[in-house]
């Protein structure tokens, strides 16, 4: 199988907990014509990490760098589950049985196709893709984020 196909580029941005910084990141992407598909904000006492999945990762990255943000690009996985009771639980049972280490995750619901999308950062993405695909989990590719 093509492991690379299921690596979803994610943009992480360092922001200080200061007024207007979150807005500035989204504004930089707006100006670059980038549409944000999913995002999460992790915060500590001093700073936050904003994570984005977007339709145009390269443009988003360049626009943020251009605006002097500290940006990291890395790969995560996107998994579609049914948007119904027990859907996430079923998936996490598989993840747990496969002994995959999750760094963090976040989610969004796509109301158009009645599915929820789980975004995972696994410690070892290659093996996670292989194993989850072998377990018949529905993996999404970047195409999906360009489409919706």
């Amino acid at each position: 199988m093509d492991i690379e196909k299921y690596k979803i580029p994610q943009i992480s941005v360092f922001i200080e907990n200061k007024k207007g910084r979150f807005y500035n990141t989204t504004n930089a992407m707006r100006e670059a014509g980038v549409n944000i598909r999913a995002m999460s904000l992790a915060d500590t006492m001093d700073f936050g990490i904003l994570r984005f999945v977007v339709d145009k990762p390269k443009e988003a990255y360049d626009a943020l760098i251009e605006s002097d943000f500290i940006v990291k690009k890395n790969d995560i996985m996107a998994i579609a589950i049914d948007d119904e009771c027990g859907g996430l639980s079923k998936l996490l049972k598989v993840v747990s049985d496969l002994d995959l280490n999750v760094e963090y995750m976040y989610t969004f619901v796509n109301s158009l196709d009645k599915r929820a999308v789980m975004l995972f950062k696994f410690e070892d993405i290659d093996s996670a893709i292989q194993k989850l695909s072998d377990s018949n989990i529905n993996l999404l590719d970047q195409e999906y984020f360009n489409r919706i």
Partner: protein
């Protein structure tokens, strides 16, 4: 290369003989011409004829910044204003600035001393020198300017401000030597990078003559990397002359002090007693060849040490280390003495840390709280919180082991620490006692 090879290779005996001779002459000269010193010498019973060895210098009281203030503006001048051809003044953040004057002969002496340190760093008459020190009352700009003209270099008196324009000038004129403060050198490097300028291809810089603020060897490395030059430190202060008191040779192992023009001592800042050779203490300078302002034992407040062993370059003059701090910028954090330069040394030894930092001191109840703001960059930012924490913990642990106190590092966004075109503002003390 030597500018004055006869003087710069004097034997220790000859240096000390010359120093004693000039000192005795100066005591007479000051007694005759400066009422302040006449009163002081009379009070302590000091007479030139009683000075038999350099050790007797210790009987002469120190001169401090307060003495300059109390005699503001021209009270310490030994000549009348007719003979004074130049005035400079220190920045003096509190109270009146320190005013100094120069006769024609003093300016000649001064530019000769600056020529020496420039040549010691490898500057020749083929160089194009870009001076980004502020011109004006500050001695840095004019001091370096005339010294470098004396060497025969082509001097570009760019002065400070408008960094983009400075870079354009360096690029267009093909500057090979840069003169400014270390923190401004870094800022120039950073700005050049942002403008997409390749310092190795687009600029021709070879030598940086940097000074006027304390900086660490780690910072030197960063400057050298960013600007593609060799950075040399030099030392001076307006009260005793200006830049040119001491400067590094190509061995970059301490700054040679112009001992034929100055006597230096290292004292314990609390007791005023000279420390053992090689130990750290406050630098005290007695200029020997000044006509307008022959002062004695000026307390510089700079903490350094002196080595007298033979240098690779062949110069016999003693060398002083980069000052590790000033007696007045020494921080006392939870009772422990800390110099900002020690913090800098720790920070810069950690791979990837950017050279801009600021120390914030606050009071948390009865305790001091010290925080260091470090600008984030792609090397210091990890997408995973766990790795980020580990990295921050590592910085904190290294600070703790080097300084013995707890200081918390905090990442801030790039460019959020103010850039300075002169001396960098490293410490913000919000403590109220």
């Amino acid at each position: 290369m030597f500018w004055n090879s006869r003087e710069e290779e004097m034997t220790r005996d000859d240096i000390e003989k010359l120093q004693l001779e000039l000192l005795v002459r100066n005591i007479d000269y000051a007694y005759e011409n400066i009422p302040f010193y006449r009163d002081r010498f009379d009070e302590k019973g000091i007479k030139a004829k009683d000075i038999k060895s350099l050790k007797d210098l210790q009987n002469i009281p120190f001169t401090t910044k307060d003495d300059f203030r109390n005699n503001y503006p021209f009270g310490l001048f030994a000549t009348d204003m007719k003979k004074i051809v130049r005035i400079h003044a220190s920045s003096g953040t509190t109270g009146k600035p320190t005013v100094v004057g120069y006769t024609k002969k003093d300016l000649e002496t001064w530019s000769n001393l600056v020529a020496r340190i420039a040549v010691a760093a490898g500057v020749t008459d083929n160089d194009i020198v870009h001076i980004a020190f502020g011109y004006g009352l500050f001695t840095g700009g004019f001091g370096l300017h005339y010294g470098l003209e004396k060497v025969g270099a082509s001097v570009v008196p760019a002065s400070s401000g408008n960094t983009k324009r400075q870079i354009m000038l360096m690029q267009d004129y093909g500057a090979t030597v840069l003169v400014c403060t270390p923190s401004y050198a870094l800022h120039i490097g950073e700005t050049a990078q942002k403008l997409g300028i390749d310092v190795h291809k687009d600029l021709k810089l070879k030598i940086g003559l940097l000074g006027a603020e304390p900086w660490s060897n780690q910072m030197r490395k960063k400057i050298e990397e960013r600007l593609g030059l060799k950075a040399y430190d030099n030392y001076g202060l307006s009260e005793v002359m200006g830049p040119g008191v001491a400067g590094e040779c190509e061995a970059q192992d301490g700054m040679h002090i112009a001992e034929d023009n100055f006597i230096v001592e290292i004292i314990n800042p609390e007791t005023g007693i000279p420390v053992e050779d090689g130990e750290y203490g406050e630098l005290v300078v007695t200029p020997l060849t000044k006509e307008a302002l022959p002062i004695f034992r000026y307390r510089t407040r700079d903490i350094t040490r002196i080595k007298k062993d033979r240098c690779l370059c062949g110069r016999t003059f003693a060398r002083m280390d980069k000052p590790i701090g000033r007696t007045d910028d020494m921080l006392i954090i939870r009772g422990v003495n800390v110099f900002p330069s020690q913090i800098e040394e720790v920070l810069f030894s950690i791979e990837g840390i950017s050279p801009h930092y600021q120390i914030i001191l606050e009071r948390d109840g009865a305790l001091d709280k010290a925080t260091i703001l470090v600008e984030a960059n792609a090397n210091l930012f990890f997408d995973e919180m766990k790795k980020q924490r580990q990295f921050m913990d590592r910085i904190n642990a290294e600070l703790k082991s080097a300084l013995g106190i707890e200081i918390t590092a905090k990442l801030v966004e790039p460019y959020s620490i103010e850039r300075s075109e002169g001396k960098a503002k490293r410490i913000i003390d919000k403590r109220k006692f």
